[in-house]
């Protein structure tokens, strides 16, 4: 089954169910996801349409994780946008930060809606969930830690921990902050 997805960021044809070719042109096949309809919507295995398309460094460095992360095309597009963004003299997103975010996402994706992602001036990636002025969650991915802040009504929870610890904490939180989305 072949479904053509075109994002506004890149001109890649997305093929589900067929082995994809590494977009860097090495010929290496990328493992594909299952063939369920949900996976068909969300799994991205990509075959470059144009050999002149160049992936941002952080995306290329994390291609294995991206192929496993079951991102929607919108989420993938947001990540590529952040990865190609620069803030003046500040660096683009680091491969380490993106990698940590992807690993975090794989731990929480079954219990979460997709966050908005933003680039911080030091090249780290922020993910934000928002429901209301007093219901906000942000997680920032540094080399070794996930730095998070949760405003849940009148309570505030902030900290810096290993990404897997933060993932478990947020999945178990009674306010279900990973499912927050603005109405």
């Amino acid at each position: 089954m072949t479904t053509n997805y075109k994002t506004s960021i890149s001109n890649f044809d997305i093929t589900v169910g067929e082995p994809a070719v590494d977009s860097l042109g090495s010929g290496r096949q990328i493992p594909t996801e299952s063939h369920s309809s949900k996976a068909a919507e969300s799994a991205i295995t990509r075959e470059p349409r144009s050999t002149t398309s160049v992936l941002p460094d952080a995306v290329a460095a994390n291609w294995g994780k991206i192929s496993k992360a079951r991102l929607t095309k919108q989420m993938y597009g947001n990540i590529v946008r952040v990865a190609t963004q620069s803030r003046g003299m500040a660096p683009a997103v680091t491969a380490a930060s993106l990698g940590n975010f992807l690993e975090f996402w794989m731990r929480i994706r079954n219990a979460a809606v997709e966050p908005e992602v933003v680039l911080a001036p030091d090249g780290t990636l922020y993910a934000e969930w928002y429901k209301s002025k007093h219901q906000r969650l942000d997680v920032r991915f540094t080399v070794n830690k996930a730095i998070f802040g949760l405003f849940a009504g009148s309570s505030i929870l902030e900290g810096a921990e290993r990404p897997e610890t933060v993932a478990n904490l947020l999945k178990q939180h009674a306010a279900k902050p990973l499912q927050w989305a603005a109405d």
């Binding site: 946008r81 952040v82 963004q85 803030r87 003046g88 003299m89 500040a90 908005e116 933003v118 680039l119 911080a120 001036p121 030091d122 922020y126 934000e128 928002y130 002025k133 906000r136 942000d138 920032r140 730095i147 802040g149 902030e158 810096a160 603005a182």
Partner: protein, 170 residues
């Protein structure tokens, strides 16, 4: 200082404006937390958070400066304006020792050398040929914050809705 410049008093109810880049504009016209972070400084002793005072210039004038400075003179500009009171409260919650000095009507904080310094400083940009800003100021107390607490400060400032100042049609 140039003659005729209006000096900001940084009164609690007055607002300080911060530019919101395209990447920091979230759904619902909300400002991302990252909009309140600046790149790591070359000299930490001189670090401050750049803002513009609405006591000195209007939103439209500040938007003109941001448009020239960050957007090659084109496009709508997004600005998040926050009261000095809210900057103070956010700073205090991040451990900044902020106090009001009645003798000279200013806010100050304990700096790295344990000396009291002005929490807000008027820093007009007048010498640049291309990017002049009479309302440019600095939130000075950020320089006593470590990375974690800078993030805490930004978290408390972010999330607010930004104003969109449309580019004028010529």
């Amino acid at each position: 200082m140039g003659s005729g410049l209006k000096l900001p008093a940084f009164a609690l109810r007055r607002e300080l404006a911060r530019y919101v880049s395209e990447g920091d504009r979230l759904r619902g016209n909300r400002t991302a937390i990252a909009a309140f972070l600046d790149p790591p400084p070359i000299d930490p002793a001189k670090e401050y958070l750049s803002v513009n005072s609405l006591e000195v210039e209007t939103l439209a004038q500040i938007a003109d400066y941001y448009r020239l400075r960050f957007q090659n003179g084109a496009g709508d500009v997004a600005i998040c304006s926050i009261k000095v009171f809210d900057f103070n409260e956010a700073g205090k919650k991040c451990g900044v020792d902020l106090q009001y000095d009645r003798s000279n009507s200013s806010w100050n904080f304990v700096g790295r050398g344990l000396k009291r310094e002005g929490a807000y400083k008027y820093r007009p940009v007048l010498s640049s040929k291309d990017h002049q800003s009479e309302s440019h100021c600095g939130v000075e107390f950020v320089r006593v914050l470590d990375t974690y607490n800078k993030g805490k400060l930004a978290r408390r400032l972010g999330g607010r809705r930004f104003h969109v100042v449309k580019a004028r049609r010529r």
